[in-house]
Amino acid sequence: MSTTLTTSPTTTPPPTDQPPRQRRRRQRERPNYLGGLSGWIWLVIIILPLYYVVMTSFKSQVGFFSSNPLLPALDPTLDNYALVLRSGFVTYLVNSIIVTVGAVGPALLVSFMAAYAVVRGRGRFIALTNTVFLMGLAIPLQATIVPIYLIITKMGLYDSLLALILPSAAFALPISVLILSNFMRDIPNELFESMRLDGASNWSILWHLVLPMTRPAVVTVGIYNALQVWNGFLFPLILTQSPDKRVLPLSLWAFQGEFSVNVPAILAAVVLSTLPLLLLYIFGRRQLLGGLTAGFSK
């Protein structure tokens, strides 16, 4: 119990509380052949398609049809990237950013508040809240695209970015409330009591106690939802129509139709659409992996 208590709600990610010498001894004594072998095989399985996509995106169309797909291009070219950028890529990128920030920000805020109510509040209404979000986890919400389409058209939002933001934010709530409230439960009761005795309001407690104690969970939930929304395809497909409202995943599908046999250009679009997240990953990797493992493995 003490180990979980010290690792999970604080900001440090769980691992390594073991003296290094002991670790080395363990490793020498028992090499894990099965794990090692599958680990490296899986690495190849992961890398090969990515390598192929990047290599091909630098090939000319002629080069693509004539060369070995696994060898680097003989005549590397940036034409494909230029073509993608000329075809409205920046608009789609901006749309994706607006939708992701617009959905994840509010979803995070309201689910944080709701999780606080679920954990610290009492009463029938709050019990109902908890039940509603737990049920929301079990329902494959994609099944409801027809009524969502109806609601969005009735609200006059069809073919707007707001049409993507609202349901995406709503769908993010159950898992967010679940993870955040799991973390909040681990905050010792005494801390709440002492802040209450000092006369702190709920907002003050939320801001000065709960947020610092659950920061890894907030980061986790934020990243997880951002990935979901950024890569979301179904809502854009059914709720938008015009090219200037396209988000990146949908634009890839559209490029596929537009460029048809120009595979290198399509793959250049794939690379470009992944680049923003890859950059974020490179700079925020520690935070991201630590947060995700802490959030879901509880």
């Binding site: 979803a107 099944a143 027809v146 793959l267 794939v270 493992t293 879901f296």
Partner: protein
Amino acid sequence: MTAALSERGTRVRAQARTRGPSGWFAAPALVLFFVFALVPVIGVVALSFTSWNGLGAITFDGTVSWRKVLADPVTLNALVVTGKIMLFSFIVQAPISLLLGVFTAGVQKYRALLAVLYFIPLLLSSAAVAIAFKALLDPNFGLGPVSGLALLRQDWLGNSDLVLFVVVFVIAWQFVPFHTLIYQGGVKQIPRSLFEAAEIDGASRMQQFFAVTLPQLKYTIITSSTLMIVGSLTYFDLIFVLTAGGPGYATRLLPLHMYITGFRANDMGAASALGVILVVIGLVLALVLQRLGGRDRSSSQLDGA
């Protein structure tokens, strides 16, 4: 009146001091969820008894849509395809994720590096993954012809005997990293003392795995499996872009069938009926998995750790 208000104010504050936050803190989330998730769940049931082409008027239609959907062999086929993909992708993903998760939880530096690389597929959208594999699996210009092996020279996406397994493979490629991460985190939370005790007792690596790691990961396994199984009801974009449900109906699983029925064939009533089937399957699966887990998820998880 002001006195009454301020009196009420102090009472509320006093309550807040003793009782914690009021339900208002949950209200914004509930309202958002109500409008865009609960109303649609009720709406999908209601719409399944109507006929609507997506543009015109919605008319009550009794059980016409239901009879149509239930009599349609494509529905049954979609159910079978969904079940197969769910089962196969679980069988493939669960052991690999568990193994890789345990492996990358090791303290060696290179394992941490592997975990970093494993994560990359999660950054790609399903549309991107599907497009990449479409190019990769192309029978003329993909990897197969290059390998020079006849075995790999297949029309992977055009052969209805193979396509299902290809889809399962691509799903695994995309989602194993996520589950690996979950297991990695789970393993790291197991108290070291348990392994040390097992080691002192002379337990082999295998014995440690089955006697310590696996039981300790119980809840992680339930979480990961639930996400995998219920999640497989939502594979839509990947398969939509990769195969569009083809060849024929070979990979047209339920969500895709619902989309095509509603937004391509403009039969929103039938699509809603299919949606209801999806919701029911999801709820039943979640209940069964919950029962298997045998845990009150709303209690603090520190208790049994």
